[in-house]
Symmetry: C2
């Protein structure tokens, strides 16, 4: 039966998400979840959802959220499309713009899912390595006629680095194909590219509510682009891709901006402390504007440290990038969690 799968899928290794331990007792710093709870309005809105709402199909375009978000983002709703998590949006975007005749470009190291999506869609990939100091490779800006789509996470993962708006504008302007600026972590950064959508019809900004709004379990993200682009992508999405509880919960979270901002502030403070302390232990860490940090050790392998932390019931993400090296991506937890991590790291080092 495996012969029936499309040939390009037969060899594919699926995307492996970060470990979700089935037993409790772990300090989880491996999947960039928010250590603080979502706004209390979220649970409230979910608990007010009626049997009747659960029994009926949800709004196909999640208008409740679109209207809410439009007023906060100062856009009209037709600039917004919602997804069952940002992954759903990235899948829809991939299917909209790339097939086996097209190339998808993304920086390397980067979010591993871009590569998986490219392979599932049987498109060609151009994973363009950053320079060793994480600055953008000139090759990234070169137009090619086969190019169909560009992914660029900003802040990037695993580095946490935020590229300046001028660099992003350059990418968008020099590559006249759809460019996805994946702003999953942008609420932890000091600027964002949202206003560029007015100027650039080839820009799609994606955001998730999993990180800054503490809603990873709800699966909710949104994309912002010019209405013509949104309308085209809507044809590719499943009719009812967001369920009623996620629409209601996400809308409630979005309404409570102050809650998100307060949590982000705490996380950024903890992040600065974490960076300073981990550097003292000899790790190299780029300046992160996300809710995680990327730790390398002078080219020495870090897998053992990951394993030792794991045996101390602390989960971080060990990532190995071919031709680039390995490292530990550590999510910013609460102050208490980070103190325990630091104690553990000090005893290991």
């Amino acid at each position: 039966m495996s012969d029936y799968f499309l040939p390009h899928l037969q060899q594919l290794q699926g995307y492996t998400p970060g470990e979700q331990p089935s037993e409790g007792g772990y300090i989880k710093l491996n999947t960039n979840e928010n250590p603080y709870p979502p706004s209390p309005r979220v649970l409230e809105a979910i608990q007010q959802t009626t049997q009747d709402q659960i029994g009926r199909y949800p709004e196909p375009l999640a208008d409740r959220f679109r209207n809410q978000a439009a007023s906060i983002l100062n856009l009209s709703p037709e600039w917004i499309m919602t997804g069952n998590g940002c992954d759903d949006l990235l899948t829809i975007i991939t299917r909209s713009f790339a097939d086996s005749g097209k190339t998808i470009r993304f920086p390397y190291p980067g979010y591993i899912l871009y590569e998986t999506l490219t392979k599932i869609q049987n498109a060609k990939q151009e994973a363009i390595p950053f320079l060793k100091d994480w600055s953008l490779n000139e090759r990234f800006l070169k137009y090619s006629s086969e190019l169909g789509l560009v992914f660029f996470a900003n802040p990037n993962s695993p580095s946490g680095i935020l590229y300046p708006k001028a660099v992003i504008s350059q990418i968008i302007e020099q590559l006249s194909v759809p460019v996805v600026i994946d702003e999953a972590y942008v609420d932890f950064a000091n600027t964002n590219c949202m206003d560029l959508v007015h100027k650039h019809p080839n820009l799609i900004v994606t955001r998730t509510l999993s990180k800054s709004y503490s809603l990873a379990g709800l699966r909710f993200g949104y994309a912002v682009a010019q209405p013509e682009v949104i309308r085209g992508m809507q044809k590719v999405k499943d009719s009812y891709n967001c369920d009623i509880l996620s629409i209601v919960g996400a809308s409630a979270a979005f309404e409570d901006q102050q809650w998100m901002v307060d949590n982000v502030k705490k996380i950024c403070q903890t992040r600065e402390h974490l960076i300073a302390e981990v550097r003292k232990l000899g790790f190299q860490i780029p300046l992160s504007q996300a809710n995680f940090i990327w730790c390398t050790l002078d080219g020495k392998p870090t897998k053992q440290i990951y394993e030792q932390l794991r045996s101390n019931k602390i989960l971080v993400r060990y990532l190995q990038y071919k031709g680039w090296g390995d490292g530990l991506r550590i999510s910013v937890g609460t102050d208490e969690e980070i103190e325990q991590l630091l104690d553990s790291l000090r005893s290991i080092s």
Copy 2:
């Protein structure tokens, strides 16, 4: 910017789901929702979900549901894959087995989404018409080397007809490609094909919790197939395609089989009454084993009836199939709703 979309998508009309009226006061008999509420255990389970669960990523494979369903279906969990509604599963299946070099076969008239999924994936379609009495066309059983995938809803929509297991077995055996038997409505029928998965590695049975379990708003479905097939399809799905609340709610609904069976019994009784009464008004109606009926009028157009019902605040689904004719697909509501529909139909006819 619309030029950037893949050429086959530029002309595509997206799938139009049944109308969800924004104002209340309608009797909704147009999207085959269940008129009865889901098991009270669903709301209970949702309300017990904690902030912490909402803030963390859900189980990638929805193990909670898989374990629950496995014990009820008498299978092991690796035979089951869950989806964000059955549409998500049908999308994953399409992407797993068909591309522009492959043909997707489905009967006509049938679930319109099969055609939409085929077009999005840029595969070729073979919509094979039923014979005029709704029996299967011999052409449906002909092997062709380009064939990549077959969809067959059983019971079928819009007819509501259940094809006997012998016919289904014939399809699966004669076409040695993946065959999806879409059992979205099978709980309203007197038999199903689930046991055939043990015998046929090319069979995928899909089910939804939207209809018989009254969970259309939650978006939850599952596919059953041999483990090798499930493992292959898992590579194509989004990592976290089901959110925590839908997993928890679907598991609670599935646990309460008696609730579902009781609602199905009521709906089937109402359906028989509905068929008898609507036939008296001169409509032709195939024997339905689903929660809807298909009404035609001797080849005469039915759009006006749809519109008159609509102006009486009763929504049914008007469907027009090119080369076949039109008709009204009416979902089975409560007895009260159906009495109002019948009164309205009698006053129109």
